[in-house]
Amino acid sequence: MNLNLDFAAILERWPVFLDGALLTLELAFIATVLGALIGALGAIGRRSSHPLIARICGIYVESIRNTPLLVQIFLVYFGLASLGMKFSAFTVAAAALTINVGAYTTEIMRAGFDSIPRGQIEAAEGLALSRPQIYWHVVLWPAIEKVYPALTSQFVLLMLASSVTSQISAEELTAVANYVQSDTYRAFETYILVAIAYVFLSLIMRAGFWLLGLVLFPRRRRLGTPL
């Protein structure tokens, strides 16, 4: 086998790759922030004593977790346009990723909530904390801390999954790679570089989550041990 790799032709296009990587990070950031919010609310809703709310949240989680992301993206992109609502590819990509990751985050958060022992809540009641105080200090934050590693993985996965939004013309990293390789016929080199770029993006995100963990969870900062 005679493998002839030429990275020079690809590397000279670094500005477009940088644009693509920034757009990928932007998509991941928006979807992570909004997805975490949806996830927290969804998990609370799913555990609600109100059966209708619990049911609605359940349907949302199950319908998203049992359909492919690409199909969801096409549904939002072409579906909304058919109804006369036109949004840019970037908006649709961010929205579809948020909806998708929101469902997974709901499930992860629910697991966190379920892991809080009843005794802990009863102890808080014994100390005469109000219901919002109990939810905030005794349930929500310890729950998030417990599932924090799982959440980190999920959001990194989401960043990697954003590559399929190239299908609806969002110009993120994979879309840039598809274009460059079709123009230079250097497919192997292009995708090697893009794979390395994704590894870096993942490391950046993991480092970010590690720092955020130190800020959010004082015990981790002080004791250096996870819960």
Partner: protein
């Protein structure tokens, strides 16, 4: 590896030499007239130029062009089914007399076969919703143009940096057409044929070619060194462009007329 490619070249050279001598001996026009039959290489898997209808009969613009030629010359017609890649080898190895199969004229091809004058054109255009007022590149500013990633249209529009075009790149023609049908894009850059077909799929969102990017000449191809046949084919093309028959065939299958300077 090196050795094998050397043999390939050697064998190919011998074959070419043999072919050349055959071509020198006989005149293709005489052969065709004597056999009272013309063998035409056509790809029947590229609608609407070449395809098979519901009764498994060949049809399409190239097929009707071939049928018109055979009828005018009073010859029996034999279709030699081919694919895009085997069109040229078919005439080089004398399996077919001529090629009528959306063959665009390129300098590389001209080195191995001869071309007649153009009988049709492949039009690369920006098409928009019929209701849009678009007449030139200036009018396209600020409109999203859907395009298939990596196609010639993508490359050409991307290079027009000073025209400030907004491109939305899709991974294939099907997704691009869906974007146009669903309303995500009001303009597409592709062949005129596909632009016209959008309206067939959804009459509410009919598109029409607005700005021409480039026309690719389509010509009849034949093996090198057949000046008499080439000359006769050129005469036939000129006549049928003038009397409008070729334009009629093109319009029937592609939905738009041939470029005005060709019809002249």
């Amino acid at each position: 590896m090196m050795k094998r490619s050397f043999y390939t070249v050697a064998v190919a050279t011998v074959c070419m030499a043999a072919l050349g001598s055959v071509a020198a001996r006989a005149d293709l026009l005489d052969d065709v007239m004597k056999a009272r039959k013309v063998r035409i290489a056509t790809d029947l898997a590229i609608p609407p130029s070449g395809m098979v209808d519901g009764n498994m009969k060949p049809t399409g613009s190239d097929v009707e062009t071939a049928q018109l030629l055979a009828k005018d010359w009073g010859l029996e017609l034999e279709f030699v089914q081919t694919t895009g890649a085997t069109r040229i080898p078919n005439v080089q190895t004398n399996k077919a007399d001529i090629i009528i199969s959306t063959l665009s004229v390129t300098p590389e091809r001209a080195k191995v076969i001869d071309f007649t004058k153009a009988y049709a054109a492949l039009q690369s255009v920006v098409g928009c919703l019929k209701s849009l007022e678009v007449k030139n590149w200036e009018d396209l500013k600020g409109k999203t143009i859907a395009v298939s990633r990596g196609t010639t249209q993508d490359t050409e529009l991307t290079n027009m940096k000073d025209r400030n075009l907004t491109l939305a790149r899709f991974d294939d023609d099907a997704t691009m057409v869906t974007a146009a049908l669903s309303g995500q894009a009001d303009c597409v850059a592709t062949s005129a044929t596909i632009v016209n077909q959008i309206g067939v799929k959804n009459a509410a969102r009919a598109f029409e070619p607005k700005v021409v990017i480039r026309n690719f000449d389509l010509a009849i191809g034949l093996r090198k060194g057949e000046p008499r046949l080439t000359e006769k084919l050129n005469e036939w093309i000129t006549t049928n462009l003038k009397n409008g028959k070729l334009n009629e065939i093109y319009k029937k299958f592609h939905g738009s007329e041939l470029p005005a300077d060709m019809r002249g």
